[in-house]
Assembly symmetry: C2
Homo-oligomer: 87 residues x 2
């Protein structure tokens, strides 16, 4: 939807926009309405997707590689890793 | 996949993990291999989804409301907003 603008802006400029939206998401999580919260989640995902497009990263492949076979730690779809481990 | 652990951790604790992953993504954008970059994108999306689950936000609805009819500014699927405007 915004590909030409995004490429012109580049990864660095686009990352700044992502950070701004992440800040707005934090704010909405504290005191936003459900509608505002949905809007901020959508914006963060939009900017993340934008950066992936500019950096030529296939997000579907990325998710499949990392989580397509379940938790990378225990390989289960309902994680049973010890709680002291990272996630 | 991690819902029980996520709920126990809460939004605030989970947001901290998201921020750590965002930092790793920034690093990978600078000097990561394509594989590392895909891994970091997957992790950011995973933590973002986790926060949405804990906050009971429907991400599909969120994206549809905000971007389902095209750019919120110009309503086109290829944005034609003036470049001086926000995105």
């Amino acid at each position: 939807m915004y590909h030409e603008k995004d490429v012109a802006r580049g990864v660095d400029g686009t990352f700044m926009w992502l950070m701004e939206e992440v800040g707005e998401l934090a704010s909405a999580l504290r005191e936003g309405t459900p509608e505002e919260l949905r809007g901020e989640f959508a914006d963060v995902i939009a900017w993340l997707t934008t950066i992936a497009n500019v950096a030529e990263v296939d997000l579907t492949l990325a998710l499949r590689e990392k989580y397509g076979d379940g938790c990378p730690g225990c390989q289960k779809f309902i994680c049973v890793c010890d709680d002291s481990e990272k996630p």
